[in-house]
Amino acid sequence: MARTLITVPTAAGEGEIIEVRALIQHPMETGYRRSGDGDMLARDLIRRFSCRFVAAGKAGEGELVFAATLHAAIAANPSLLFHARATASGTFVFSWTGDNGFAQTERSALSVR
């Protein structure tokens, strides 16, 4: 499991727009670099990130808030900042997927006053 750092408020007013920052530990190896021995380093990237919001009491995948497709030009330990509208209490689901079967999901609860 890669370490993640997600900065998102746990409580917000209804309709409030909140700032979300999601960072994950990952080398984002480009596939264009050589090792000390001169061998090409294999590409190892996080390809996709998504943030969904599942309202409390509802089943399913929830609503898409934000998604990103990342390429080799994204720096190591990808950090993404975006915003979300607090419509109801529920859970944010953050997921990262990438090369070599990389997949990780994190959650954060939000309560709307």
């Binding site: 727009i17 909140i18 480009t30 264009y32 670099r33 919001f53 609503e63 898409l64 808030v65 934000f66 998604a67 990103a68 497709t69 990342l70 390429h71 080799a72 030009a73 994204i74 720096a75 190591a76 990808p78 950090s79 993404l80 900042l81 975006f82 915003h83 979300a84 509208r85 419509t87």
Partner: protein
């Protein structure tokens, strides 16, 4: 017989040389066009205009391995009028694509930030596609002193 053939070769060589000299600037343009072609492909036939998008990046970068960028788009972000996507391209990294973001009315605000790699001094372009299909761009030139990708 030898002389006219020599003149012919001379004329042919000079003509070819002149052609390469004339072709050079257009070839430089062709490289610039590859960026424009990607923007056109993303716009998918919609008109591309400057404005509404602001790509915020330091004009002078000391370390190309981690360069903060921020894209802000002027949009009410309502269910009827919102930013559907933002894409960032570069001019001279090994690969033109940097990142593509998908936004929804649930995003609330069209502001995205990330950290990117830059291989050399080059142009960066951000394109925003609105829910009505129209596309807006902002291009920024960045001077990079320590390159990513090429050096470790």
């Amino acid at each position: 017989m030898q002389k006219p053939s020599n003149r012919r070769t001379f004329l042919a060589t000079t003509a070819a040389l002149a052609a390469t000299i004339v072709v050079r600037p257009t070839m430089l343009h062709a490289q610039d066009d590859s960026l424009a072609a990607l923007v056109r492909a993303y716009a998918n036939g919609a008109p591309i205009r400057e404005g509404r998008v602001k790509l915020d990046i330091a004009p002078l970068v000391d370390n190309g391995n981690s360069v903060p960028i921020e894209v802000v788009v002027q949009s009410p972000m309502t269910a009827r009028d919102y930013v559907a996507g933002i894409v960032v391209f570069n001019e001279k990294n090994p690969q033109r694509e940097v990142a593509e973001f998908v936004l929804t009315p649930m995003s609330g605000r069209a502001r995205v930030a990330a950290r990117i790699r830059l291989a050399m001094t080059q142009k960066i372009v951000a394109v925003a596609r609105m829910s009505d299909g129209s596309c807006w761009t902002h291009t920024v030139e960045v001077l990079v002193t320590l390159a990513a990708c090429i050096e470790d």
